[in-house]
Symmetry: D2
Subunit: 511 residues, 4 copies
């Protein structure tokens, strides 16, 4: 009897194009692509049509509770299979996205980043983390693959085989600790030209992958190595696991479509990536950096999507006789959200640019690495806050999971904050890195570089604070006043990254 409908809002939502209808993103692409703009723009428009419609719908469809991945340990004929059962919509979505060949030698980094940014607007969807982990594994293999088995994996991941691209995973965390990777206890025993991995990993994201990058301690030397491991016995894919059991799937608050497992290895075959004694360093330098980099992109993408929908809703919805977005309170919020989303996006692409252009230059590489960590912390937190505010603009409908995708994006973002290094660990790491590098990268110069030469009062104050704190004791040292230094460092890092983002944003606006 009540004739009210959301049809106008829903019609807008069905039709909106993540790229074509986002002038800021087009401008940003133009800014970074330079002479290649026409080509990159064309590719972005093509993938955006799929991401904005078919993939968007699939992402929502597989988010329902009934579609959660589950684990089949044994089949009906008592064959241990440890299959991760996912809905066929998820399989199809993965197949389509991976067949874009994002990590193919023929895809340039900027195009890849723009495409990822568009794909990530659908949230995790059992796509974001698999893409990230594949990217990290590809990066490691690009640098370190040196034998037929690992070269074959690299080709399978980058270029596909029989029309299907392989999916990568990362297994680092163990039950006794996540961030404390050096405490890893999983063992690797040399067996001819390969290794046999044994032990338990506690957070194995992308449990359905084809290959994983895994850290393990070489039994003979105690060195913590990095290995590439197929998850199935080669030639028996889908039927026989490679010396491992998938013990349990985690029940997480967010990224629920993504199977994250506890796994036990019992002599699983794997191949070393690079020298075993450089394993931990390579894992952090290559694999984790790629993951953290992507979290920056993903955070900006989630927030972009959420704010776009909240803005549209606020202009559709009326209360007390006016469209909601005509209330100054809402207006202020929308403006703030927009600004936050743009600076996150501009920042993410700028970090991405610096990262990919840093090759060979030690100082630029150092700066990029620190930026990636700062961004991981700040951008993921900003995304959570931004999306939650966006949800609030939908009122009670904002927490209804099938009313919009916002609650899902929000939950995914909460997980983004905690994996791949939580706040405390990363901020302490940056502080320690800056201390250690201060002889060849003076912290004040680093701040100036990040702020692109800004030299106003605010910039100077920030620089002084950073320089002062880096000159102080290690933040991990237990001493009077340590807590207060930590609070100040935390605030300084956030301010620094925001200033970096603002500078990047300003450059994009400047054209």
């Amino acid at each position: 009897m009540n004739p009210y409908t959301f049809d106008r809002f829903l019609a807008w939502r069905s039709g909106v194009d993540f790229y074509a209808d986002d002038p800021f993103l087009v401008q940003l692409t133009r800014h970074h692509a330079g002479p290649d703009f026409a080509r990159v723009d064309g590719e972005a428009r093509a993938i955006s049509r799929r991401a904005s419609s078919r993939w968007r719908e699939a992402s929502d469809a597989i988010s329902v509770l009934e579609a959660r991945p589950r684990l089949q340990h044994w089949d009906a004929h008592h064959r241990r299979v440890d299959r991760v059962v996912r809905p066929s919509e998820a399989l199809e979505l993965e197949r389509e996205v991976f067949s874009e060949g994002l990590f193919s030698a023929s895809t340039d980094p900027l195009t890849r980043a723009v495409k990822q940014f568009l794909v990530y607007q659908n949230g995790e969807a059992c796509i974001a983390c698999p893409l990230v982990c594949t990217e990290g594994l590809v990066a490691a293999l690009d640098e370190l693959a040196d034998r037929p088995e690992t070269i074959a994996m690299r080709e399978h991941l980058k270029e596909g085989r029989d029309g299907r691209h392989a999916v990568g995973a990362q297994f680092l965390t163990e039950i006794q600790g996540g961030s404390d990777v050096p405490a890893n206890r999983v063992e690797a025993v040399r067996d001819g030209d390969r290794y046999r991995i044994s032990g338990t990993k506690f957070f194995c994201s992308v449990a359905h992958a084809d290959y994983a990058a895994i850290t393990a301690r070489e039994s003979a030397t105690g060195a913590l190595g990095l290995f590439a491991m197929p998850l199935w016995t080669p030639g028996r894919e889908g039927a026989e696991r490679n010396g491992l059991t998938v013990d349990r799937l985690k029940w997480k608050t967010g990224t629920c479509e993504l199977p994250t497992a506890e796994m036990t290895f019992d002599g699983a075959e794997a191949w070393a990536l690079g020298p075993v004694e450089r394993g931990l360093a390579n894992a952090v330098r290559i694999v984790l950096t790629v993951s953290r980099l992507t979290i920056g992109l993903a955070s900006a993408a989630y927030a972009t999507r959420a704010v776009r929908e909240a803005r549209a809703y606020a202009s559709f919805r009326e209360a007390f006789g006016r469209p909601v977005d005509r209330f100054p309170m809402v207006r202020a919020q929308l403006d703030d959200l927009e600004r936050s989303v743009r600076r996150s996006t501009a920042g993410a692409f700028e970090v991405h640019r610096r990262h990919r252009l840093s090759g060979g230059d030690r100082r630029r590489a150092f700066e990029a690495r620190e930026l990636v960590m700062l961004q991981k912390v700040v951008a993921s937190e900003d995304a959570t806050r931004t999306i939650q505010e966006a949800m609030g603009l939908l009122g009670g409908n904002g927490v209804v999971e099938d009313f919009s995708s916002l609650p899902r994006l929000f939950r995914d973002s909460v997980v983004n904050e905690l994996w791949e290094g939580p706040r405390n660990v990363l901020l302490a790491q940056v502080h320690r890195d800056l201390q250690r590098a201060s002889t060849w990268v003076p912290p004040g110069e680093l701040v100036t570089s990040l702020l692109a030469g800004r030299d106003d009062a605010e910039a100077r104050e920030l620089r002084d604070e950073v320089v002062g704190l880096v000159a102080g004791p290690d933040l991990a040292e237990e001493r009077p006043g340590a807590a207060e230094s930590c609070r100040r460092w935390d605030a300084a890092c956030r301010a620094l990254l925001h200033a970096f983002q603002d500078a990047a944003h300003a450059r994009v606006d400047a054209g």
Copy 2:
């Protein structure tokens, strides 16, 4: 093979007592109870044993995905029943908690609040919202029940019948708007001494309740009345609905154990509570105020629980060779969390005290009402932030729903922010209220009263800001600079409530 276990942490968790092991809460109780402390303390200890063990376990048990409430529209014999099917553990938990008789005439308000605070430490659990809604309905009936039907409801809700206490609900929101209650379209048609309600309500929390407070527009006069409605045909409970269908259960991000429904009424019988033309005012003054008040208590309770567990985890868990809580970064965070939790708790009990002592005094009642709204906004947001930080201290385990209750508490808190009036609406309301009341409650005096006489520089600055903004134009007015005023008002409200909480906290610490 990895011998690591969480057993020490889990053993602590099984044994901890929400009241007996919380000296601050005991002190707070002593502070408020005065000469009644021994009695209140005894009652608190008794319920705390149940809340900390049996009810805590039940709350976790019913949170699994398989246990979500579902709707049975028809039985196998084509009888429309619209039953909300909940797991038997939820039924038992509800039975036990409600049989505490929290709203009985024999339970004094402070004891009730302490008990609620303990019960709420288990999160929503399909208990918190039912308690709140029952409390609000009881409050309305206490003041307005004036005929056999409504008096019988009141007795059933307060004192129980055949050993079972009835459960109350609140149905205000409609599809075209939540906060904009005056836009309600559901109709009430007079039918002898009762009313017939028709139309659709869009967020009917506690859909499994026995009775609901519902707003509807009297067809003859257009007045928006408040009515008490049984959800089943009297005498046919569980078998025949009272002229209504339960269309759908919402799939919410949090408070998932609580059935929130879309319902359509088609001549449902109801009785007016008070004069129909005073319905909206009574709904806001009595029912919504009680709900918002409880959100303050619940927010503090959720955060208390989360911080307690995070603190225990941080002292148990080691990383890089040390218990995590010995890192200054963590130390600082824990201290901040603790301070936040205590001020929220002290504040919630102080608001509660002011609310219950305000009866009869117009000015105190006004202050209490504004406080309740400010607290609703600020305390629920603080709880979300606090719990999320607490989750972060568990690292990756922090987002695993069955590792601890923190993710559930977090999601419940997110919902708390959005129902019963979201931020924008309430802050604008407070501004408008202060403007209107400024002739008899000068805003500066109100600030002074809330700050308990503080007169330092910070307090003065805050008072000036409030006075200035109240003297300005209505925040809803579209004009240049309006957005900036809104941002300032938002910040001032938050600062004011925090200052109020800090003052309350200081008094508790002072004994």
Copy 3:
């Protein structure tokens, strides 16, 4: 540690071809196809490859409990949609099978029957009943469609539209009785050139169909008409129902993949098929006859599949040192099962042949109709017994639903016995039909015709029994001795149909 596997059996099962590996079926096809054999055989081989592998696997995949169809009454935006949600594997399977164009004008009846027989070997799978109902609706439309709306439906069902073939349904049964169609209470009110249907149907199989054949009582005349009804508002398919609600999906023992609903119509648009006063007769003569005919084919197909797998299992499995099929007890059982399956299959194709060749000849049509009813009863019962015995040959594994498809085929067969007219009703109907027709179809001649001229002692005895019972009183008459007559009639019917099947079987064996 126990190295036992079922691999050899499973490998056989993956590879077996329902048609190419079934010499009896090939022979039967040759027998019926005559000069067209090469063409029919070719088409059978082509569809058999799909039916034996891809569709077989899909049928098992959608049978898991998690994949059961469910009903979505409302979407998240309070739009009543009454969608039947089925797994995407079921949608794809349906699309593929229906795109075979079985009811296209270009598919001859024998080819269609052979194809159906092959498809049905996968059990119901939400395919068998939709095919049957579509076939019945097409038959009715072929004879009775006389206006644009019904002609368009016919084309959509037979030849497809935009690459997708429509699916048909049959809604006859009401809550007060299934077989007693004349007691139907659903009403049809004339509205210009269409009808408006109102009331409730209690067993609406193929609830996800596009169009249904439905019986309803014309309000003006009281006549029970047959109508064709779209299930969605034309042009709003998938979004808006045609004046109906889908109240509930049945939870059945078998055919679980098939959504069978209780539906309420409230002015649903429909068009009369033929003269309203001939509706009941047309429904029985055309629609029900087609359904019952197919149950004969399906029963033989289910049993064929079950016995094939049991035979393979018995030759694979060892007990007490021997393959199980070398025990005489098992040998005897396998031989009996094989014989039962062959006579059912031969009988089903012979009934099918007589049915399709009966057009125009009143006596042959009568015989065919009675045969169809007798076969419905006997063949479905035989299939249940046969499949259950086949399950028994798998021992305990025989009742394990994911060990083989036999339990599913068994449950589907149990349902086949009960829908489209249960035993008692059909046998009584045949008796009454034979009594009424005895002036122009002497019962003895009918028996002789069914037995293809056999005149041995057994045949004569059977003929005398039939003649005697038909000469007696109506079986529905309450009188002393009636029960005994019923028992004898039941036995005679079963013997008669078996003798008919044996004769058909003998002719196939004879080439």
Copy 4:
């Protein structure tokens, strides 16, 4: 709008009492109880009230798909628990039924049988099989427990501990074969005064039990022993398994509420029951005999319940203007069903009596054992047929699982046919037993004894057939004509058991 309801039928169903409203059962109890009738009748009435209402409702409630038992391998803290998760209604039902103390020393065998018969009328319900397995384990322990560990188990099972009675299980079947127990490969290695069990069992019914009777081959001697095994590490019940993993729960057609598992043992502690070399013999003689005996009772109970409800439905339901049960066809069926149920029931109690009175007398014990096997085969088949016919009397409603309990009883009965020895194996065993015993139990005398002295033509014919077939070759011998002998033996066994049941029935009717 259609006012039809099933209310009258449903009201009858809610009120009917399985014992008090079944004069035949009361008469049967009187017949067997003799002078103890008053006491047994009183106990039967008491338990019947629970069985007919509360337990009946619980049995239906736990049968829904959502309530199926599931397996939790690991908890959220990576502790392997292998918990069988069942709904709390099932736990409560089990607790209530087991607290009847059916196997207590203070419960006499007839009372126990009557109570079991009443409890079994609710189908499996995760009660029937646990009772049977507990009974068998108790019987084995009563005869063979000879050390503190096994004596403690016996007391826990019979008399309870801390107010809770333990539940027993039976683990015999392995993947390579069920009936062929001598082929068992699970190993038992002596370890001081206990054994360590290793290997895999494939059908572990009552997977949630406390203790199991398990067969295993003693590694040192190759003898197949019988052992009693706790399923949890003593003192760590619910938290740590006794050297075993629960690999998978079976998905069965029937007895779905009962968890039946595949389990792997890896050094599980167990204690020998009797001399190891007598293990197989004891397992068959004691444990399997008790199970098979109970299947006789259960089959009669399931059928009794089904026919009672079908009869009531047929008298309530109308078709073509008459209550369905007034059609002679239905009348005949109901009469036949009633007769079948009564003879099954009378037979089951008579077999039970002979079994319990056979102690000490070798010949009577032999007769009882053969009777138990014959009854297992014939009664379970009869029950399936009977229940299916009863379902048919409900028309389409007969296959709707939540319309009545009949589909569930039917599926449970189908499983009863296949476990504890399927038809072929048991009939061949009886033949072999009779051949071997023919020197001291002439087959003709055995037939005469079973028929209670009947000597009419039919009896003589049956006796001659049995005598002739026993005088022939072993049925397992592969030779010409063997299949025909098997068919005849099958028919003779069925006829013999039916004649035995008829004789027992006649004696009950005679008073």
